[in-house]
């Protein structure tokens, strides 16, 4: 039979197709769009896998005892009250801030649009820290959009499809985020290491003013992440005699491996940037 012959030919053909796909995926940005549409094919799998989690939440909500609900309600009311008090103060501060900025002729805009999103999947590949959320370009998500949870910066969107997006977490080994020390404004960059608990600051000189316990907030440089959101807290500073740079490790404040409800932030400049990228 000639079957053996044709298998080898087919093998070479498919191998070459794969190689050219890989190369074009590394080289051309247009592949993003092709991928966005192809991703629709695997969206059902991602939804199906999330079914147990969702149905458990659903059941849990329906089976909760009345007393528990009342107690939870009271607790939430108290929390809201506290939060409202802070918002009141914030309103005054915001107005004051606007006035001061006016005095300085600064044009920086403060309002950001926030969309709430939900986690629908986690990447099963241990080499990458990515999660999948249930907002796609149909609901306004765009590549480069920053993602937060209630306690800090989570990461940024790296690809979108119609109904889901893929978020690269700040702890991924290929991610870096510009930050500054909240206490004194010292600017640096926090690199992911591929571990959920740590970020590393590699570019600080040995004499830099940084201490254990310092809060790192996003610096807004690079125009990706909006300014002033908490990113991490410094947990270890190590100095080496004879070395120019100190080694600093920080723990992300966001609950990267636990949060299910996420916030997508959109600043006006970013929307402009995204449109420029798209063109």
């Amino acid at each position: 039979m000639f079957k053996g012959q044709s298998t080898v030919k087919k093998f070479i053909t498919y191998g070459l197709i794969c190689l050219s796909l890989i190369i074009s995926d590394y080289q051309f940005d247009q592949m993003q769009r092709i991928r966005a549409w192809l991703s629709l094919a695997v969206t059902p799998v991602q939804w199906l896998v999330d079914v147990p989690q969702r149905s458990w939440t659903w059941l849990d909500e329906r089976l909760q005892v009345r007393d528990e609900l009342i107690a939870e309600n009271k607790q939430l009311r108290a929390k809201t009250l506290l939060a409202e008090r802070r918002v009141q103060k914030l309103a005054a501060l915001t107005v004051e801030n606007f006035r001061l900025r006016d005095l300085l002729n600064s044009s920086e805009q403060l309002d950001e649009k926030v969309t709430v999103s939900e986690l629908v999947g986690i990447n099963s590949d241990p080499f990458t820290h990515q999660v999948i959320i249930n907002n796609g370009f149909n609901s306004g998500a765009f590549v480069g959009q920053p993602v937060l949870d209630a306690t800090g910066v989570m990461g940024q969107i790296i690809s979108t499809s119609a109904f889901t997006s893929r978020v690269l977490l700040i702890t991924d080994a290929d991610h870096a985020i510009p930050v500054q020390v909240n206490r004194n404004g010292l600017r640096t960059v926090a690199y992911g290491l591929g571990q959920y608990d740590y970020l590393e600051l590699q570019d600080l000189s040995d004499t830099a003013d940084i201490e254990v316990g310092d809060i790192l907030v996003s610096s807004g440089l690079g125009l990706r992440f909006p300014k002033g959101y908490p990113v991490a807290q410094v947990i270890e500073v190590r100095h080496f005699t004879g070395q120019d740079f100190a080694k600093v490790w920080a723990k992300p404040t966001a609950q990267l491996d636990r949060s299910r409800h996420l916030l997508l932030i959109e600043t006006p400049q970013q929307q402009n940037l995204a449109q420029q990228d798209g063109n």
Binding site: K10, C18, I22, D25, S124, D125, P126
Partner: protein, 162 residues
């Protein structure tokens, strides 16, 4: 009769869908490192059992779907699947004769090849590294084969899939 045949032809795809779902299942980090390559192992079974139906074309398509599911560079898993399927197709007659532990050893090597290809192509331009831990799914997939082979053979016989 026709209905019956059409129904049974879909059985391998149902097992593959289950494999995709197992792949996408969220797991704690330490489990992820050893999580077997479900899609590849199930597909290897169907290549050995029904080589006239499952070959390089399906390997390519399933590999692409895996790339999309895992957010890899397009074509990485496809290439690995095509290479592994090619080797499987070269020796499927011999594999059928083997005892199941011998098959498991072969599966170990096939998954190891798959891991090397995906790790290498995905790793270009990336900072992630892990020593040799990326090979951990290979022995575990080999062990899994001993059980999965029995299950899939049972399914194939029960539904008379051809």
């Amino acid at each position: 009769m026709v209905m019956q045949r059409a129904h049974n032809r879909g059985v391998p795809f149902i097992t593959l869908l289950a494999a995709f779902m197992l792949t996408a299942l969220p797991m704690p980090e330490w489990v992820q490192w050893g999580w077997p390559e479900w899609v590849l192992v199930v597909f290897i079974y169907w290549v050995i059992a029904l080589p006239h139906r499952f070959g390089l074309g399906w390997a390519f398509i399933l590999g692409l779907l895996l790339d999309l599911l895992q957010g890899n560079h397009l074509g990485v898993n496809a290439l690995a699947m095509v290479v592994v399927t090619f080797f499987t197709m070269l020796m499927y007659r011999r594999l059928r004769m083997y005892r199941s532990w011998q098959q498991a050893v072969v599966v170990f090597f096939l998954v190891a090849i798959n891991q090397c290809i995906t790790y290498w192509f995905q790793g270009i331009g990336s900072n992630a590294s892990s020593g040799l831990w990326f090979l951990l799914p290979a022995p575990i997939s080999g062990l899994l084969w001993l059980w999965l082979f029995v299950v899939l053979r049972g399914i194939r016989r029960a539904f008379k899939v051809t």
